[in-house]
Amino acid sequence: MAFDRLHRASDALRKRLLERPFPRLVAHFASLILESGQESGASELNLGIGGLLAILAAPGGFASLMLFEKYSSLLRWLRHRPQIDVYWASLPDKYFFIVFSMVITGVVVAIRWNRILPSRQDYDNLAPLPLPSRTVFFANLCAIVVLASMFALDVNAASSIMFPGVVLSEKGTFGELAVFVGVHAVCVILASAFTFLTCFALMGILMSLLPNAAFRKVSIALRLTIIVSLMVLLCTSFAVLPAVRAFPTHPQSMVRFLPPVWYLGLYQQMQGRSNAQLALA
């Protein structure tokens, strides 16, 4: 009953908001980014926003569940490794979640790249309307920020709660768990935001520097490069950790230039488990 009332109230609020020009324009740009943009919608796979969010949220949860084995005290006792510092032992997993967050965000941005900024179709439909250019620009920016935040939260929500829960499943207070959850959420969301903003900045620079025809050609190559690079980053995430662990002895290692390592450094720093080299990275 209360849920129904809440649902009706939020629906009424949404309708009232969408009756005003600016929120309507923001919603329009958001739906343009999410839409396939194809004319024939019948045969294509159209998951809708709910389905898409569920698919993006699931891997983080599953990956966390898979780690139960690693942090189980019984299995550790059987392997004759009863005592570990879970904050250091979870380093590879933290790195994996940071990379995973960046990969999902980067791939989504690369796929929806051509829908992020207003297109010729937007110009044809919106330019004759009595809207100042800055209103159109800010509405588009708002739509991007809202969607990017929603995706970053969605991709990382399950792992932010489940991963610290798994790591501290057998020891640690509620306070430690809450801090772990907060630190994890901050680091993975910042990593997502970094990826999104980097792609967005790249797009803006290319659009400013190149003529339209050249931009379209370069854009395809760049999108593919982004996707391949992120996939390589994900597949090699397990190979990077030995180099990260060797930081104290090899501070000039090239892995310090990898963006996920920066966020791993931030993660460890916030948990008070960093070393000088990782903190500097």
Binding site: R24, S36, E39, R120, N125, P128
Partner: protein
């Protein structure tokens, strides 16, 4: 629209449709501007003053001056590539002229483009609509962005969808619409906010014969209601039937401007079609037609 048809059938004065709510104003007399450069500035109408657009130094439109007063329908006629679309873009505020200016109500539109666009109903040449929206959603979007109150918007959109024969298709995606259906949605979107100035760039493109006939009457009725209408078309017959005034354009320059009857009366040729051909392309239509038929009839094996 149905009201109009009924009125025609019963030969009675048509009752304005509910979405056409303006105070009836008498149409201005067909005063002729023989000198394009001396177009007077109407109080609520539009006027262009020596409008020029250069692309890479080449003139697409050169020194185009005309005015449209409330109640007038100005036909803007010219062959392909004569500068019609460039003029349309400049008077809709989508393109800045290289020289000259567009005045609305005596003020340059560049002074307050947003206010100007609020008075404007524009039907573009090409219907590049959002295919994922339904017809109703598109009207809702444009109406909301024009800051129309939601209840009024719903009422007007539904009424006009009904009149344009689009009501049964209002919840189908635009991607499934034919060219004529998309054109009808554009026409509704251009009329829904009751604009004082209508700029129609080939509005009959894709419309079937009945709908084109009906819309022709709608344009005339809107002019009677005091709207200033700019009607751009490459088709002489359509302009001749719809417009009160005419601008003939050739290679970006105005070659004739005035009331249609006056252009006819000037005696350039007996028929306006001949005048159009002489003024715009300088072609011998009969000779050219014979050449085309001869070429098509030539042996091909």
């Amino acid at each position: 629209m149905r009201t109009l048809i009924r009125a025609r059938l019963t030969n009675r004065e048509p009752i304005p449709a509910p979405w056409c709510q303006t105070t009836m104003r008498p149409a201005r007399s067909n005063a002729v501007q023989t000198d394009p450069g001396s177009a007077a500035a109407p109080a609520g109408g539009i006027r262009t003053d020596r409008l020029t657009k250069l692309y890479g130094g080449l003139p697409a439109v050169s020194d185009v001056s005309f005015s449209i007063e409330p109640g007038e329908i100005l036909g803007y006629l010219g062959p392909n590539g004569s500068g019609k679309s460039t003029t349309v873009k400049m008077i809709t505020g989508l393109l800045e002229p290289t020289r000259g200016e567009v005045l609305y109500g005596g003020r340059s539109i560049s002074e307050d483009l947003v206010t100007y666009k609020a008075q404007l109903g524009y039907v573009p040449e090409e219907a590049n609509l959002y295919g994922f929206l339904t017809g109703y959603e598109y009207l809702e979007l444009t109406g909301t962005l024009r800051d129309m109150p939601a209840a009024r918007l719903k009422e007007k959109a539904e009424s006009m969808l009904q009149d344009f024969g689009m009501f049964p298709h209002r919840h189908s995606p635009i991607s499934s619409y034919s060219k004529g259906m998309r054109q009808r949605i554009l026409l509704i979107a251009a009329l829904m906010h009751d604009p004082d100035l209508l700029i129609l760039d080939e509005p009959f493109s894709g419309l079937d014969v009945t709908m084109a006939l009906i819309f022709r009457h709608v344009i005339k009725l809107l002019a009677q209601h005091g709207k200033a209408i700019f009607f751009c078309s490459p088709v002489l017959e359509v302009v001749e039937k719809v417009c009160t005034h005419l601008v003939l354009l050739r290679k970006g320059k105005v070659v004739a401007y005035g009331a249609i009857d006056d252009i006819r009366a000037k005696g350039l040729t007996p028929a306006l079609e001949e005048a159009f051909l002489q003024l715009t392309e300088h072609v011998d239509a009969d000779a050219l037609a014979s050449n085309i038929v001869a070429a098509a009839s030539a042996p091909w094996k």
